[in-house]
């Protein structure tokens, strides 16, 4: 009886991924406790988020990829409708129109699109299997461009760029020609100075500060400067848990969310960072293995995109906090505080697990 329940609960879970996630969760709670100023209620709140996320993951893991493939189009259309609704009737908070008030709850459709967009594109390329032509990529790009444009308009630059990248991963894995990639990136580079010359002075200034925070140490650059000081002063082994001065004395902004990596880095040092990079690398490696073993086009494209998108989040966040990338509001996956992003993330891992454990059922 118990073994049956156990089987029911865990038959679609991937033990390797689960181990990594569990370890990341542990790290997250410790860092969060320190970052929140030793506020245990934050830990409870995040624990609740984790439970919700695990539930979502279990659900996703138990839905077969075939059903996911079927759900791709309705989900995408629903997401698009919601995005349009946001653009028309969305509530404004902090100067951005991201939320939709449904009367009984508020939802953020862009989060849905983080899953729905790669699913839609994976479905599209799966349905065009064997007929790989340039027109497929044009249509694929358009399917990607609409939601990205709508989210960018909200404005939510971080999310829109990451959704764009998740879609791009599908295009890339579906076989976007190398020549096109080469030409596109070359022309993008070539157009950069032209684009730069079209900008107003204040816009240029903003971009300069994005790349060089020291130009505005008390304004926009303050966050990055304090974060870099936190990381650098962590040294090789860190200042120790709960002992980060930048963290505990409030010098770090947004330290439970977007800048939590600086807290981790200050208290656990270079060694801690290597550990975290290794952990992320293992998760990514596992995801890529799952993708490579997937049995149909939809599954492999989706698995690859989800895995690489996880990488995007991790890289962009650590890159911005350590000052090599401009600051865009992106949380550190698995570590930052917050329910929505955690649910979306675990949902993705659930899909990965589903793809891995439903293999035999879809064997041709």
């Amino acid at each position: 009886m118990i073994s049956k329940l156990f089987h029911f609960l865990f038959k679609h879970f991937d033990s390797f991924l689960m181990a990594c996630l569990f370890f990341a969760l542990l790290l997250s709670l410790f860092v969060l406790y320190s970052a929140s100023g030793q506020d245990i209620s934050r830990i409870y709140a995040q624990g609740f988020n984790v439970l919700a996320a695990l539930g979502a993951m279990w659900l996703a893991a138990n839905i077969s990829p075939l059903n996911l493939e079927r759900a791709a189009r309705p989900l995408y259309i629903l997401g698009m409708l919601l995005l349009i609704a946001v653009a028309l009737f969305g509530t404004i908070s902090h100067g951005a129109r991201r939320w939709l008030n449904l009367g009984f709850m508020q939802i953020q459709p862009s989060e849905l699109m983080r899953i729905a967009v790669p699913m839609m594109l994976a479905w599209y390329f799966a349905s065009r299997e064997g007929k790989s032509s340039a027109s497929n990529f044009v249509i694929g790009s358009l399917l990607l461009a609409f939601p990205v444009a709508l989210i960018m308009k909200q404005p939510d630059l971080g999310t829109s760029l990451l959704i764009a990248s998740s879609g791009f991963y599908v295009l890339f894995l579906a076989g976007l020609s190398w020549r096109f990639l080469l030409v596109a990136s070359a022309s993008l580079l070539a157009l950069m100075p032209v684009f730069w010359s079209l900008l107003h002075d204040y816009q240029r200034k903003r971009i300069e500060i994005l790349f060089d925070p020291t130009q505005d140490p008390l304004g926009a650059g303050y966050h990055t400067i304090q974060a870099i000081i936190a990381i650098g002063s962590g040294g090789s082994a860190g200042k120790g848990w709960l002992n980060g001065t930048q963290t505990q004395l409030d010098f770090l902004p947004e330290r439970t969310t977007d800048f939590i990596f600086a807290v981790f880095s200050e208290e656990f040092g270079f060694l801690g960072n290597m550990l975290l990079l290794t952990l992320f690398s293992l998760i990514i490696a596992r995801g890529l293995v799952i993708a490579s073993q997937a049995q149909n086009t939809f599954s492999r494209l989706l698995a690859g995109s989800i895995t690489l998108n996880f990488f995007s989040y991790a890289f962009v966040n650590m890159g911005m906090v350590s000052g090599i990338l401009p600051v865009v509001g992106v949380p550190l996956p698995l570590i930052s505080y917050g329910g929505t992003s955690l649910v979306t993330l675990y949902l993705g891992f659930g899909i990965l697990m589903s793809i891995h454990t439903h293999k035999k059922l879809v064997a041709t």
Partner: protein, 644 residues
């Protein structure tokens, strides 16, 4: 089926190739991050470590207690005490005006408080707190404490305030402190002591407070405090206690000071008393005076206007910066020049007919006594203040010899007192006149220098110092107000040594003649007989008058119907006991007319207290109301006394 399978394998191959490329990109970008971490955390660890420490550790200065100023008996002239102040940190307050208005409903905030607050704010950074109210009483402090939550950015602090318990008494001597301004900062930086003033907001502005600033201030301590991003102190890491400033112990006696100042009544003037043997200044009076407590926290414009625009000029430090012609008080020094040069030694005497003329000129240099003094030798010339005698002597000495001799008594140069801002007075010479006026020196100008008129100008301090040098037989001791500096921590006292400034060899016989002449001044027949009346010790003195406005050749000086402020200044110098002097005094009463009747009695009261410990009898009319010039009824006042 096979084709499909082939196709599938082919497709999977290409997909895995792409995955592999993606994996490589992931790996290389993570490696890039690893290098970034290596760069920040290993290579530049020291740099960021320092930045983090600078972030969290702040050096908070602890202001040392300013040294006290005490009189010779330990009476406190300047001290510090803590008062509650209500302070606003402008950067932490959203709407300053409404906050102040709300505070005003709770605790009285006058418009003067607001003005001062505004001034404070202009002088300091917005993250430094400035007092909106000072001297909060217990009730007000409690009222605010209860309502504190309503006023973020407003705090009760306790500040150390400088206080001068004796108020107006001796304020020109003690001076005052005030808020450090840009010029002070510049000076502190120039002297390389600015870092010691971190946290201090006051500095000595005048008097002893200014001169002994370095000793009084003490050494600022520091606390290493851990602060959070808002600048709030979290805990103290280490502390370095401040070293309190040294205490100053003066030679002046506050009781004597009070007697001297009271003796002036409503009159303007100055008095300096010096111990001739040591140079210790026993009393330092500038009248009228002011309340230094007004200046400590920035004087308000009303009081400033009152003080600054007063005709009596209470802010002028008269002993140091008031310049007057010495008049006949100059004569003893000219007399010594005559004796030492061998020109007027006994039995030399003249027949005084009431005036002196230069050869080949009809201009009469008149004696103050139109009929003349008859046969006059040196001693009598001093006693009766015979102008005719000194006209001739000055002429015979010549201006150069005269000025170079009397310069040994400190005329024409600063006496180096321990208060800043001294004026050196003026001892005229032909070169000076050429430089100043581009005109030659006329013999007639030498004549009037003989009686202390003309270009000659002295400060009351110089006059007192000259008297002290005379009393000390030509040995000039450096005058000083502070005699001991007491270590604020250990209480150990360090004596300020007596320093010989200058020395002139004088023939004791000549000294004896001058002293006898001066003693006779306070005896019946002298110009200040009433001053010496009933004195149980002998007083050597000289009276003087200094013209405020010039009188034409044939015009008679008429006291009546003259503007009070155009009346002659009265001067008086004295030392006592004459045979072994321990006090030398110079008194100037502005528009006091007669040295013997107005300035002399003030000196007598000072000497009585100093030598006998005797308190002056209450006789306000004798001093406050000037004696009528033509009064004949008062038996003690002779014709000599009514002139100089």
């Amino acid at each position: 089926m096979v084709a499909e399978l082939k196709n599938y394998i082919h497709e999977q191959y290409y997909f895995r190739l792409r995955l592999g490329v993606a994996g490589l990109i992931v790996l290389s970008l993570f490696t890039l991050l690893a290098f970034r971490f290596y760069y920040l955390q290993i290579l530049h660890y020291d740099h960021y470590q320092t930045l983090a420490e600078n972030n969290r550790i702040s050096l908070v200065p602890t202001i040392p207690n300013r040294g006290l100023i005490l009189d010779k008996n330990g009476v406190v002239l300047a001290h510090n005490f803590f008062v509650y102040t209500l302070e606003i940190t402008p950067s932490k307050v959203k709407n300053l005006d409404s906050t102040i208005a709300e505070l005003g409903q709770l605790i009285e905030v006058s418009s003067q408080d607001k003005k001062r607050f505004k001034k404070f704010r202009e002088q300091s950074h917005s993250f430094e707190s400035a007092p909106i109210r000072t001297h909060l009483n217990e009730f007000e402090a409690a009222t605010f404490a209860v309502n504190h939550f309503r006023f973020p950015g407003v705090e009760i602090k306790s500040r150390l305030f400088r206080h001068y318990p004796l108020g107006k008494l001796g304020s020109h001597m003690v001076g005052y402190i005030g808020r450090i301004n840009d010029k002070d900062i510049e000076n502190l930086k120039k002297d390389g002591v600015y870092s010691n003033y971190k946290g201090s907001d006051h500095i000595g502005k005048s008097g002893l407070e200014q001169f002994y600033e370095q000793q009084l201030h003490g050494v600022t301590g520091f606390q290493q405090v851990e602060i959070d991003a808002d600048g709030h102190a979290v805990r103290v890491l280490s502390s370095n206690a401040p070293i309190p400033g040294d205490n100053l112990i003066l030679s002046a006696d506050s009781k004597l000071q009070e007697i001297a100042e009271t003796a002036f009544g409503e009159r303007r003037g100055a008095l300096v008393a010096i111990n001739p043997k040591t140079g210790e200044v026993l009393s330092y009076v500038s009248q009228p005076t002011f309340n230094p407590n007004l200046f400590v926290d920035g004087i308000d414009s009303e009081n400033w206007k009152l003080l600054n625009e007063s005709l009596d000029k209470p802010l002028i430090n008269r002993p140091l910066r008031g310049i007057y012609p010495p008049g006949s008080t100059f004569k003893p020094f000219v007399a010594l020049a005559g004796l030492e040069s061998g020109k007027r030694n006994p039995p030399f005497s003249i027949q005084d007919g009431g005036f002196f003329t230069l050869a080949g000129s009809s201009h009469r240099y008149r004696d103050w006594k139109p009929s003349g003094h008859g046969m006059v030798d040196m001693q009598k010339a001093i006693t009766v203040s015979c102008d005719t005698f000194f006209y001739g002597l000055a002429m015979e000495l010549g201006i150069e010899r005269l000025t170079s001799f009397v310069s040994h008594f400190g005329f024409g140069r600063k006496s180096d007192l321990d208060i800043k801002g001294e004026i050196g007075g003026l001892l005229p010479t032909p070169e000076w006149k050429k430089r100043r006026y581009k005109q030659p020196w006329y013999p007639g100008e030498t004549v009037i220098v003989g009686i202390g008129q003309g270009y000659t100008l002295v400060t009351p301090l110089q006059l007192a110092q000259a008297t002290a040098i005379l009393a000390n037989n030509g040995v000039a001791m450096k005058p000083h107000l502070v005699t001991k500096i007491q270590n604020g921590l250990t209480g150990k006292q360090m004596d300020i040594p007596a320093i010989v400034q200058d020395r002139i060899e004088l023939n004791p016989e000549n000294m004896a003649i001058v002293k006898r002449g001066m003693v006779d001044v306070t005896l019946p027949g002298g110009t200040a007989a009433s001053v010496g009346a009933n004195a149980p010790y002998s007083i050597a003195a000289k009276t003087g008058t200094a013209q405020v406005i010039g009188i034409k050749q044939n015009e008679k000086y008429n006291e009546h119907g003259m503007n009070e402020r155009h009346l002659d200044h009265a001067l008086f110098i004295a030392f006592a006991p004459a045979e072994d002097p321990t006090i030398a005094v110079a008194v100037i009463v502005e528009n006091g007319r007669h040295g013997g009747s107005t300035a002399g009695p003030i000196a007598r009261k000072v000497m009585d207290y100093y030598l006998l410990g005797k308190m002056p009898a209450v006789e306000p009319s004798a001093v406050a109301a000037p004696v009528p010039a033509n009064a004949t009824g008062t038996a003690t006042i002779t014709e000599e006394e009514l002139h100089d």
